[in-house]
């Protein structure tokens, strides 16, 4: 029984006097994936930000690789990849320059090669030397995915990975997520509704009234029953 990659204990967050999240208990082992669904403002992004260590919880704690997220040392940050609503990309740099920069930050052995590889994987090889400022939202999203996965993270935190993507883009990102899980990484992703990703099992949770509740057992997802359950 290996140690959980992600663990939270009664994690809670308020904005002012409004409790957004309360008593969130989560455990994720390596090589597993989870989708957290919920409507706008439900707290999905907040949860992800707390897991990433970008926001301090109002109560409880979150642990990644056994470390408190508020004081995550550099060597643990190296193993986490985050994809958010914002792309973290520099508009006046080219796609290649952006990826090479992040590759250097994550101390990759060959930043040029890594950037080249990932540009290919997200289908941006042709526009590698165009400035991100010229990109469509979907292209930026794909580049952001490349940026997040560049350093082969053990944990991927992705906030609405399929937003703004067309079918092809979504396919690419889905296969990247699948590949990550197959390589033994853990993935926590958020979405409005559960997307279909063939070939991988993941747990599904819902944030409702500030609580994180398991929605369905993973088998039922594969059998497609999730659609009717979500059809409110």
């Amino acid at each position: 029984m290996s140690a959980p990659v992600v663990e939270t204990h009664s994690l809670a967050k308020t904005y002012g006097l409004a409790p957004v999240l309360r008593e969130v208990d989560l455990r994720m082992l390596a090589g597993t994936g989870a989708f957290i669904i919920g409507g706008n403002g439900a707290g999905k992004s907040t949860l992800l930000r707390m897991l990433a260590g970008l926001e301090a919880p109002s109560g409880g704690r979150a642990l990644i690789f056994g470390q408190d997220t508020r004081r995550l040392a550099a060597r643990y940050r190296r193993r986490i990849g985050v994809m958010a609503h914002e792309s973290f990309l520099y508009p006046m740099l080219t796609a290649r320059e952006n990826l090479e920069f992040y590759a250097e930050l994550f101390s990759l052995a060959d930043p040029r090669a890594s950037a080249e590889l990932w540009l290919g994987r997200v289908g941006l090889a042709e526009v590698a030397d165009a400035r991100v400022r010229t990109f469509s939202r979907g292209m930026e999203q794909r580049l952001s995915a490349a940026r997040a996965m560049l350093a082969d993270p053990a944990l991927l935190l992705v906030d609405e990975p399929f937003a703004s993507l067309d079918h092809d883009g979504a396919e690419i990102v889905a296969s990247l997520l699948r590949g990550a899980i197959e390589r033994g990484a853990s993935v926590i992703a958020t979405a409005h509704a559960v997307p279909e990703i063939d070939g991988v099992e993941f747990a599904v949770f819902e944030i409702s009234r500030g609580l994180l509740l398991p929605l369905v057992h993973k088998e039922e997802v594969r059998r497609g029953r999730i659609r009717s359950l979500l059809g409110r």
Binding site: A12, T14, A18, R22, S58, G59, S208, R209, G210, L211
Partner: protein
């Protein structure tokens, strides 16, 4: 004795010492021969100076503890010290100006001590402006702590550089050195009483304000807990 009782006693003691100080300054101590009655401001100026700088130091110390321990209590103390210190710093500048007019004939002079006090006043002002222009969050508290620490580290360098500046180009008239050349023991006694009175006044005001901010923080924390509890009641689990 609970906290409010301590504060009350502090208030009474301050009142008593202040009355004593005023009596000593205006009735007991002889004015200095050279400067006449205007020199009496010195007995207020010196204690105000000590308090203004001490309060500033407290802002920095509270800031260090806040960054280290994270307890909101330290930020409240720092903020209270900044507000209180600003009051005394302003009084000190006003007192300095009132002193300058009859002695030197101008409302202001860039002598080394007044200049340093003015810089201190600007730093206080900057701190208060920063806190006023940002929301009440732990991050703002951290900003205040860092600013307070940085400013206090600067103070010795400010004092050194201003003194050097004024040595090369002395101001209109050299300030009377406080503490030296107080021949009459009555002067020493008066000064000590004044220092004690103003220090107590500072501590008392500080405690009042600190208590206010602390209560506000605790009420805020309590409100959050109530919000969680009612959410739990309403939403299950």
């Amino acid at each position: 004795m609970n906290n409010s009782a301590i504060r009350n006693w502090l208030g009474y003691a301050t009142l008593a010492l202040m009355v004593a100080a005023l009596f000593m300054v205006f009735d007991y101590v002889p004015p200095e021969a050279e400067q006449g009655i205007a020199q009496l401001i010195f007995y207020f100026h010196v204690p105000l100076a000590w308090v203004a700088f001490a309060s500033f130091g407290l802002v920095a110390i509270a800031g260090i503890f806040y960054l280290w321990l994270g307890d909101q209590l330290w930020d409240d103390l720092g903020y209270a010290a900044a507000e209180t210190g600003m009051v005394f710093c302003t009084l000190m500048i006003v007192a300095g100006s009132i002193w300058a007019k009859p002695i030197w004939g101008t409302w202001w002079t860039w002598d080394s001590r007044l200049t340093t006090t003015f810089i201190l006043w600007l730093m206080y002002g900057g701190y208060l402006m920063l806190r006023a222009s940002a929301d009440d969050t732990p991050q703002t508290a951290r900003f205040g702590a860092v600013l307070g620490i940085v400013a206090v580290l600067d103070v010795p360098i400010v004092i050194a550089s201003v003194r050097l500046w004024r040595t090369i180009h002395p101001a209109v008239l050299v300030t009377k050195q406080g503490g030296h050349g107080l021949e009459d023991p009555r002067m020493v006694a008066t000064l000590l009483v004044c220092v004690a009175a103003f220090t107590l006044l500072w501590v008392w005001l500080l405690m009042l304000r600190f208590n206010q901010l602390l209560t506000r923080s605790r009420m805020g924390a309590l409100a959050v807990r109530i919000a969680f509890a009612s959410a739990a009641v309403a939403g299950g689990k």
